[in-house]
Symmetry: C2
Subunit: 315 residues, 2 copies
Amino acid sequence: VTGEFARIAALTASLPPGEGVVVGPGDDAAVLRPRPGFDLVATTDTFVEGRHFEVASLTPEAVGRRLAAANLSDLAAMAAVPRWALFSAVVPESAPPAWLEAVEGACARTLASEGATVVGGNLASAPGPIALTVTLLGEVAPGRHWTRAGARPGDVLVVSGEPGLAASVLRRAGVPGAWAVAEVPAADLTRFLAPVPRVVLAQALAATGGVRAGVDLSDGLAGDAAQLARASGVGVVIEQGALVRGTDALRPGDDYELLLAVEPARLESLLAAAARAGAALTRIGRCTGATGAHLLERVDGSLEPLPAGGWDHFG
Amino acid sequence: VTGEFARIAALTASLPPGEGVVVGPGDDAAVLRPRPGFDLVATTDTFVEGRHFEVASLTPEAVGRRLAAANLSDLAAMAAVPRWALFSAVVPESAPPAWLEAVEGACARTLASEGATVVGGNLASAPGPIALTVTLLGEVAPGRHWTRAGARPGDVLVVSGEPGLAASVLRRAGVPGAWAVAEVPAADLTRFLAPVPRVVLAQALAATGGVRAGVDLSDGLAGDAAQLARASGVGVVIEQGALVRGTDALRPGDDYELLLAVEPARLESLLAAAARAGAALTRIGRCTGATGAHLLERVDGSLEPLPAGGWDHFG
């Protein structure tokens, strides 16, 4: 069903009409026209109240922007271009309609800023925490997507932005639902509330060439680096001196940044391409042949295991 | 994210590999290869515990089959062929993993029986009711999709199966969570627990030609007929004598059957095509030029307004 969600039609009416939308919200399904010769890329992320956000801490606009960012980041990590989205909500009957409309509006505007149109969704009521799900569809030229699995020993690890920013904000803000926002530097808070999608950066890097593997940083650098290492069958070393957020970078946190393994010979070209795209890209480590070894290199050159884990909702 | 859902990889390993799956579960997103020249069709449906199912009344297999059927029905109502699905779950940490695995398994098998592969998903924990969301992607030849909007005055309304079967089962079973299944005829219960997807029927009818509008029956015949009428700008008359389930057909209920407006000259060909496809297709009414008039024609020929509404989760 995309039909019972009449608000989506009203919502999208205020946004530029999406390209390739043959049938939009309001029917049993949306009909979309892919660009000929492209592969389709599909991801989905759910935000649950009390886990991914607190109504008392975050404005609905921030929830919507971060929900969009979570999905956009997944597509950026595949080198894909966003095209269409479905928005589903499970909310208590007591929830103010204006709250959900504000979330949807901010989410749709953030998606639209990166080229994706909301084409449908679903609305259900239930007691209990609010759950918001976005499914995002994008496109990539065949064979040009990145995966987690392509890294090789000797590859350089680079990150966009500042991993650990989200963990830093959450640590300083303190108690969920009763944030001490005065403790959070204003610039950090702004970036947390409206993460910069890395879609344009990913396209610039893909055009440059030399990216061998990519993963979105949504569980903390330590956990996501380990995921990339496992999928690629390599070891990883994270260089602590390169972590501008210090140990916050190693804690679980939803940064929605990119961690990429790149061919050493292309590193300078990729850093230059990122600079032209106006995005920070920083070398923070390297891949090794020591499969299974996920290490932190301290500033004094000593090695220790990376903190295990990352964010496991059932951990 | 499609990655934190490692169970999906295990699950799909036991099913035939999906066609057109370039990157399956386990990365930031799935990469899919559409058939050249086809449009993409996308729908999403959420089942919420206590609203769409009760754990005490339905086996996990039945929940999974009905969740798949809800989405398959949406694609059938667009004349689309299912291809790929994403499965997202929000469940309490106390939920037995085996329950969710059984739901997913039944859902994936039902989708696979109609040609769709589960390519990713998401898992989150939260206190409160279980919420299960499937996003289903399919394909249709450009311009060959059905919408709710194409019906014309004089068109004949036909339905697959027996609208009202779901409402009949729910009425007889009685108290949610403490069903008196002995009160439900065994054949009805079987069809309720495992609705027959109408994908093959829709393809047979689309190949025959003459279908002008379609809607999936997921809110009860009265409500869904009104939706079709409003979208098409026509009136509708439902003929009570054709409703084998009597007034149960007019009550809200998730039948996952098709309601189609067809060109009168093609009615016989369409009924014959349905018979060849092994599916019941029954004339149950007609479209009129009286826009806004949604009527029930009693057996004595008198007309009265159709019960308003249908299933509105916020009604």
